[in-house]
Symmetry: C2
Subunit: 156 residues, 2 copies
C-alpha cells in the first residue's frame, strides 16, 4: 500500500445532463424507485469524436459529479431504510469524492447528444465519463446486504 | 445545457489497491480476458467508518484513477479489436478523465481492508469511491456493439 494521500486528481466535465429534475426532491429515491426517466447526455463538441460506435451498445455507465452536494458523512440514513449505514454501502450523494454512477439505456445518438432512459441526475449535472456496459453478474449470485433486509422489514 | 466547462472537480484517494500486477502488460486484456484475480482494497483509516455494512454485499463497484496513464485519445484501437473506436465506447485508460470502473466480488472485510476477486488494476492504484452493486440488466436485453462484432470476426 502506497501512501499518496496528497495525490489529487483534477477532473473536468465532458458534457452535461439535460434532465427533467431541477431539485433532489424530484428524483425518485428509496425502495422500489423507478428510473424510467428519459433525458439527454450533451457531450461537449471537443469530445464528440469519442462517441464513435457508441450506438451499438444498449446500456452505458455514466460517471458524473454530485455538483450540488456539499461535504460528506461516513455514516448516514439512506432513503430506503431507517437505520444508518456506511457511505460506501449506499449511493448517498454526501461521499468523500462526490461521484455518481448510473446505468442508462441508450435510446438514440444524435451527433454529440445521447438520448437515454434511466436518468436520476439533476438538470445540468456534469458528466465525467461514459463507458460501455458490457456484462452483468448473474442475479442468483448477487447479495444485496442491508437493502434486502430493509425491504424484508418493510414488507413484514 | 449549462456551460460550465471551466468547472473542475478535485478528487483524493480514499485508499489504494494491492494487486499482483505491477505493469499494464501483466493485466489480462481483450476478448475472453478472465479477471478472477484476487487483491485488496486498502481503505485509508480516516474513511474506514464508511465501510459499515458493506460485508452484506456480494459485489461492489470500484471507481479508481488510471494514475499511470498520460493524456487521452478520442479514437483508439482497443486490445479486443483491430479497428478503432471512440474512447467512450471502450475501456481505454487514455480517457479525457482517467477514471476506471471495476465490478469486484467482495470475499471478506478485515477492518479497513477489503479482500476482493476480479482485480484488473495495477498495484498502488488510487481508489476514489466504492458503491454497492445492486442490480443488473437482464442479459437478453444487452447489446454489446463493436465488441460482439469483433468477437464474431475472430471466431469466423
Amino acid at each position: 500500500m502506497t501512501d499518496q494521500s496528497e495525490h489529487v486528481l483534477a477532473l473536468r466535465p465532458i458534457g452535461f445532463v439535460s434532465s427533467p429534475y431541477q431539485s433532489t426532491a424530484e428524483v425518485p429515491k428509496g425502495l422500489g424507485a423507478k428510473h424510467g426517466t428519459e433525458g439527454i447526455l450533451n457531450i461537449l463538441p471537443q469530445f464528440a469524436e469519442g462517441l464513435a460506435d457508441i450506438e451499438g451498445f444498449s446500456h452505458l455507465f455514466v460517471i458524473w459529479a454530485f455538483d450540488r452536494s456539499k461535504g460528506f458523512e461516513l455514516l448516514g440514513i439512506p432513503p430506503s431504510d431507517n437505520r444508518q449505514h456506511g457511505v460506501f454501502a449506499t449511493r448517498s450523494p454526501r461521499r468523500p469524492n462526490p461521484l455518481g454512477l448510473t446505468v442508462v439505456e441508450l435510446l438514440r445518438r444524435e451527433g454529440a447528444l445521447l438520448r437515454v432512459r434511466g436518468i436520476d441526475m439533476l438538470d445540468g449535472t456534469p458528466i465525467l465519463d461514459i463507458k460501455p456496459y458490457l456484462s452483468s453478474i448473474p442475479e442468483q449470485t448477487l447479495r444485496r446486504g442491508w437493502l434486502a433486509e430493509a425491504e424484508a422489514r418493510q414488507k413484514g
